[in-house]
């Protein structure tokens, strides 16, 4: 067994989670290319079985493209309820091992197993134990990275996929890390990767050897320090069980690109409404309102504005979102619109604008929350979001004069 001393962080990632859950309940699909999501003209692939991946199908790929790559794949609708159920069982297994579980999404989590070793053995033994329980109890497979820190553990699970485990011994971290491409660094997206490549840096080892001043000049102080630390396999983030919501956001993709102003207004209002309701139910308010606009050609831009005080009012979120959204759109047709509330704090105080009436939109919205809690969703809401009755029906109801 590899030397796993000090490798107390595990990253566990379920293999093709949604697809695997579907296969589990419909065994006849086993061994076949299965794709979850991607229905409708604008749907994207949520998950693809490894058989489907052989045809080049990937997550987030437009459904039409996936169908073109593998016409005989089995396309299934997303059944979030089923996956959430499966996710709870997965997380329960993690929590049997250690209370220090930090879920990253429904199908992956970091585990700190330092304190679990006396009960369950060495970190690698714990990893093997988790993999065994997954297959025996849940009939699902997962991949596990075992390493001294989160960054390496996550790299490990990626390299172990599918259905595998990789231990990165503390003494061999640099040997493992330095040959990897810079894109494997956490925080390096396409743009940063391009910047680094222009400096002649292509591997993590190159970044580690680069003078910090050169990195700073290229990517700025904060990111340079971050990348330098990571390139030397240093990552001091702890496994945190408290999930702190950093933002509350939602977005929608139109079936057909839209440039109708009143339709876009209603969409933004509905998005703002959803964000505000979620914020209020979490007792959170945010100071920053951000919008996302994706054009027909997938060009995507974001705009944000920070208010002097936090808000959880849909009306305010909408006002700001719309003021940001329309100029950003510049009259073009768009494919996707998103609204996000950031810079969250626990709701307490609120800076209203001058001249705001005493009985504010917030009061109205709180009343709406109360009605919704009692009678269900859609009973009350903004008038412009009420589906219009066809005009003839209206005229039929009008009494003759």
């Amino acid at each position: 067994m590899a030397d796993d001393a000090g490798c107390t962080i595990l990253h566990v990632d379920m293999d093709a989670f949604y697809a695997s859950v579907e296969v589990r309940r419909r065994p006849e699909l086993r061994g076949k290319p299965v794709v979850v999501g991607g229905a409708g003209p604008r749907g994207v692939v949520s998950s693809a079985s490894y058989e489907a991946r052989k045809f080049g199908i990937r997550s987030a790929m437009p459904g039409a493209q996936a169908r073109a790559k593998c016409p005989h794949a089995i396309f299934l609708p997303v059944d979030m309820r089923e996956y959430a159920q499966a996710s709870r069982s997965v997380m329960a297994i993690f929590r049997d091992v250690t209370p220090l579980v930090e879920p990253l999404s429904v199908d992956e989590a970091f585990l700190d197993v330092a304190g679990a070793q006396r009960l369950f053995g060495s970190p690698a033994e714990i990893g093997a134990h988790i993999r065994r329980r997954m297959t025996q109890e849940l009939r699902l497979t997962c991949s596990i990275g075992v390493a001294p820190n989160k960054f390496l553990a996550k790299l490990g699970s990626t390299r172990a996929k599918p259905d595998g485990m990789l231990v990165i011994p503390a003494a061999k971290t640099l040997e493992f890390l330095h040959p990897l491409p810079i894109s494997a660094l956490w925080g390096v997206g396409e743009r940063t990767a391009e910047t680094l490549r222009r400096l002649g840096l292509s591997t993590i080892g190159d970044v580690a050897a680069a003078p910090i001043g050169m990195l700073r000049g290229a990517v700025g102080q904060a990111l340079a320090a971050h990348l330098h630390e990571l390139s030397w396999a240093r990552d001091s983030r702890r496994v945190s069980t408290e999930r702190v919501e950093k933002s509350i956001g939602t977005e929608t993709t139109f079936d057909v690109d839209v440039d109708d102003v009143s339709r876009l207004r209603r969409t933004l209002l509905a998005l703002a409404q959803e964000v505000a309701v979620r914020a209020r139910s979490a007792r959170m308010s945010g100071r920053t309102i951000a919008v996302k606009v994706r054009f027909g050609d997938f060009r995507t831009i974001s705009r944000s504005r920070t208010l002097p005080g936090p808000t959880d009012v849909a009306h305010e979120i909408f006002q700001v979102a719309w003021e940001l959204f329309e100029p950003a759109r510049g009259g073009e047709k768009i494919r996707l619109a998103g609204v996000r509330l950031e810079n969250l704090v626990t709701t307490g105080t609120r800076q209203p604008v001058l001249g705001e009436p005493e009985h504010s939109w917030r009061d109205a919205e709180l009343a709406t929350d109360a009605v919704t809690a009692k009678f269900g969703k859609g009973v009350v809401g903004p008038a412009s979001l009420v589906r219009r009755r066809p005009p003839d029906e209206l005229s039929n109801r009008r009494a003759p004069s």
Binding site: R287, R303, R305, T306, P308, G309, P310, E323, L324, P327, V345, T347, G348, T349, R350, Q351, P352, V353, L354, G355, E356, E358
Partner: protein, 378 residues
């Protein structure tokens, strides 16, 4: 082009024109300061298509001509030159030679013919006392918004009506209004203009200490195409106006009357608010409780750090607790330019007014600061 000029005069002129130059110019020539010599005077100018600054300096001219050099670099150089020494400047081929005492600089120049024509100064509308104008602008400009996504709020609205000159600025959370008098060219003159607050503040700050009168020049007011100009001494600035056609009717935010009133020493309150708000996290309020016993200023919550301090204040009305963004409060107090602040309230959730008063408590007319309280709890 060749001339000799006094060091301080040159440094001042260049520093001022360079201030308006864009740091990332759309075309390289816009980063330039234009130096033009004719009739024994040096004319320095800078322009970024929004704002132009021009100033004339007396020089000992040996040869007329014009040259264009990096404004920022020239400003840094002239600032660092040895004091009290004359500066000699000459255009030599595609370079500018600058000699001051034992220091010698050679700067590359940019093609003069590529430089855009500066906008003409609009027709003069009237004049205002420079010092009064400068202090009035300083009183309101800080209330303007800084958020470029709300351009209308980043301006100071100038309302000219007969002999009245009013300056208004608001970021939607507080509003500052200053009313002064000026001398219009035409006694019935009436116009409104929305001027970028930063440009106006910089201009007024420069023109104020020069003393005398500032000429206000205006064209096409009320539309985004309009332009305003300010002339004081040998300096002149033009700025494009912001579109202020739909500027909200902010004066109606002042209530016709108020039910309670407090008088507080400005310096003491400013200190107390600054001290107490040390425990107030970003965007959390300070609370002011007024009663017959005086004023208590508090900040912080139940679980976090807390602070409170009592101070003397004269108050008439029912006891009231009002919460403010400490920054808005401190900036408003700072803009009063008076020893006493008069707070007027109707309700803890309605806008409060702060006006300046003398040591005797008598209100000094002409400035009002409206501030929207923060709503606490719920």
């Amino acid at each position: 082009m060749k001339f000799r000029v006094e060091r301080d005069a040159l440094a001042d002129a260049v520093a001022w024109t360079a201030k308006s130059l864009p740091s990332r110019p759309s075309v390289p020539v816009l980063a330039g300061a234009m130096l033009r010599v004719s009739d024994g005077r040096l004319h320095v100018s800078g322009f970024d298509y929004e704002v132009s600054n021009q100033v004339d300096v007396d020089v000992q001219a040996d040869a007329d001509g014009a040259t264009l050099v990096s404004g920022r670099l020239l400003a840094e150089i002239t600032k660092a030159l040895p004091a009290k020494k004359p500066v000699e400047i000459a255009a030599v081929g595609s370079h500018l030679e600058l000699v001051c005492g034992t220091a010698r600089f050679t700067l590359p120049t940019m093609p003069v013919e590529d430089y855009p024509t500066l906008p003409e100064l609009p027709a003069s509308a009237g004049t205002v006392d420079a010092a009064t104008f400068a202090s009035a602008v300083a009183q309101v400009a800080m209330a303007a918004g800084r958020d470029e996504t709300l351009p209308m709020m980043t301006g100071v609205r100038i309302e000219l009506s007969g002999e009245g000159l009013a300056l208004l600025a608001t970021d939607r959370y507080r509003l500052a209004v200053r009313e002064i008098t000026w001398t219009p060219g035409d006694p019935d003159f009436s116009a409104n203009a929305l001027v970028p607050a930063r440009t106006l503040a910089d201009t007024a700050k420069t023109l104020g200490p020069l003393g005398g009168e500032v000429t206000i020049a205006l064209s096409g007011s009320g539309t985004g195409e309009g332009m305003i100009g300010f002339v004081g001494g040998t300096r002149r600035t033009t700025s494009r106006l912001l579109d202020g056609q739909s500027y909200p009717p902010v004066r109606s935010l002042f209530a016709p009357s108020y039910t309670s009133e407090a008088r507080v020493p400005v310096a003491a309150l400013t200190e107390v608010v600054k001290r107490v708000s040390l425990v107030a996290e970003k965007a959390t309020p300070v609370r002011l409780s007024f009663s017959d016993d005086g004023l208590v200023v508090e900040a912080g919550g139940v679980e976090e750090a807390r602070a409170s301090e009592a101070m003397e204040a004269t108050y008439s009305g029912d006891s009231i607790t009002v919460a403010f963004n400490p920054q808005y409060l401190v900036e408003g107090l700072g803009a009063l330019n008076a020893p006493t602040a008069v707070f007027s309230f109707n309700d803890p959730v309605k806008p409060a007014v702060i006006t300046p008063a003398g040591d005797d408590g008598a209100v000094i007319e002409g400035f009002r600061y409206l501030i929207m309280p923060i709503r606490v709890g719920r």
